[in-house]
């Protein structure tokens, strides 16, 4: 009984953590804008937290470079299972404008598995919310599968 209760509340009220992984700030501030009064993703039960151990969903903006790939991996590993990853913006998906730079490795999926890709440069808050909602679907599925 208790297990099903946890399952349900996990999928209904996921906590997110946002990591900026070499983004130009464009996507970053749009993620933050989602949390503020106009877009307000808290109405889906989503809360932004600062500690990866508390979080269920990881939002990543920006390209991966040689230094922050370790940090990204570390944050991902610290999150408890099940977890979902959402890559935001052209940078997070493929490297975007910066893909040819010397210090850029590429998109987020070079380092950790990604569940949802949100396009745009920068991605609009509407698109990010859509992405998060799709991500929640996948997350709920993972919760179901996990025992």
């Amino acid at each position: 009984m208790f297990g099903s209760f946890i399952k349900k509340s996990r999928a209904k009220s996921p906590w997110i953590i946002h990591f900026d992984c070499g983004s130009c700030n464009g996507c970053d501030i749009e993620v933050l804008a989602c949390l503020t009064p106009l877009y307000d993703i808290e109405r889906f039960g989503i809360i932004n937290v600062g500690n990866p151990k508390h979080a269920d969903v990881l939002l990543v903006t920006g390209t991966v470079n040689h230094r922050n790939k370790k940090v990204l991996k570390n944050i991902y590993d610290q999150m408890s299972e099940p977890k979902a990853v959402i890559a935001i913006g052209a940078c997070g998906n493929t490297g975007g404008v910066f893909r040819e730079c010397y210090n850029v490795v590429g998109g987020i999926d070079k380092v950790i598995p990604v569940d949802v890709y949100v396009p745009g440069c920068p991605a609009k808050p509407e698109a990010i919310i859509d992405g998060v909602v799709v991500g929640l679907g996948k997350f709920a599925q993972k919760v179901e599968e996990a025992k």
Binding site: C24, E30, A33, V97, V104
Partner: protein, 359 residues
């Protein structure tokens, strides 16, 4: 006494961006701070080798998403000077309007984050709510909220219709009213003052010698603002830099707050002086051999571009010095001696934009 070492960042709740500080503490007092950068370093100056000088506009806009418009203005201003292009007066004024809108949204964003740094979440939400009105103006006039991409070499590519101008004027009236309502809270509230007054004091001499820029410099009593150079449309606008003398976190936030109100006034002035005319001139050929040093004022301070061209469509060298890069040495100087709990407030008070710093 034994020293403790506390790592601060790269992923930290008050920081939207990754920067790492190694803090050496004695008791609760910081005695040394050593930065580690490089989490956002992409190396985009080198892209000048493979992108031509028109395409570079899209790259420099992505040095920093928050002041993208002003980066593009600085870059195109440099190339135009090199190629001796005279851009239409209307384009110059339109650049001023969008630049000031960017300054407003950037300062409002920062005021919100600053409020969040000392735990005043309601104020954070208020500032961001006001900011959305400016984002709406950006979206309606250029098609994009953050990275507006209206600059081209030789002018701008979007125009304001009379209807839009009327709407912008009424919107910024609303913004002015909303922002003024928060003035008392951010400047005089007891608990806000408790966290900001006398914290992280940077004297006038220190600020000047360490090469601080923007609100950091003006908060310490040095009246320096690149808009005084009168670049582009600023030559026709009345402008007085805003200066505070205390040099602490409170002074820096007050400078930024007053600059929001000033930017509203500058937008009004620019709109009233908006001349009729073309939006852009046609640009032919490549930049000739030569080098250019141009400066503009960004929300965070003075931004310097050094452009070296070799007569081909690729630039030889593009060097960008952004304001936060200049503000990191002053930050490292004020951190020793402060309490651990004040570190987030001080770090935030320089308005760190790490993606600018590391490019």
């Amino acid at each position: 006494m034994a020293t403790t070492i506390i790592p601060f960042g790269p992923q930290h709740p008050v920081l939207p961006e990754p920067i790492h500080l190694t803090l050496k503490l004695e008791d609760e007092i910081v005695i040394e701070a050593i930065p580690a950068l490089g989490y956002v370093h992409r190396g985009l100056e080198k892209l000048a080798d493979i992108r031509d000088y028109h395409q570079m506009i899209y790259v420099v806009e992505r040095v920093c998403g928050i002041c993208s418009m002003i980066h593009a203005v600085c870059y195109s201003q440099g190339i135009e000077e090199l190629m001796e292009i005279e851009i239409p007066k209307r384009a110059e004024m339109l650049r001023v309007i969008w630049s000031e809108l960017h300054r407003m949204h950037s300062h409002l964003l920062w005021l919100g984050l600053f409020a969040d740094a000392f735990g005043f979440e309601a104020l954070f939400m208020q500032f961001w709510k006001i900011r959305e009105r400016i984002m709406d103006i950006n979206e309606a006039t250029t098609g994009s909220r953050v990275i507006v991409s209206v600059n081209v070499i030789g002018g701008v590519r979007a125009d304001l219709s009379p209807d839009q101008i009327r709407w912008i004027l009424s919107e910024i009236d609303g913004v002015e009213k909303d922002v003024s309502a928060l003035q008392d809270t951010i400047m005089n509230d007891y608990s806000v003052k408790h966290r900001t007054v006398g914290i992280g004091v940077l004297t006038k001499e220190q600020a000047y010698e360490l090469g601080a820029a923007g609100p950091m410099l003006r908060g310490s009593g040095v009246a320096q603002d690149m808009r005084m150079l009168g670049y582009g449309g600023y030559s026709e606008i009345d402008f007085e830099p805003i200066v505070e003398t205390a040099g602490d976190c409170w002074a820096r936030s007050t400078v930024r707050f007053r600059e929001v109100l000033q930017s509203i006034d500058l937008v009004r002035q620019a709109i009233s002086k908006l001349p009729e005319g073309d939006l852009a001139v046609k640009v032919k050929g490549n930049p000739p051999e030569g080098e250019i040093y141009t400066r503009v004022e960004q929300p965070r301070g003075e931004c310097v571009y050094y452009i070296r061209a070799n007569g081909t469509k690729h630039l030889d060298r593009l060097r960008i010095r952004t304001p936060t890069f200049a503000n990191i040495p002053p930050m490292l100087t004020v951190l020793p001696g402060c309490e651990l709990a004040d570190v987030p407030v001080i770090v935030l008070s320089i308005d760190p934009c790490i993606s600018c710093t590391e490019r």
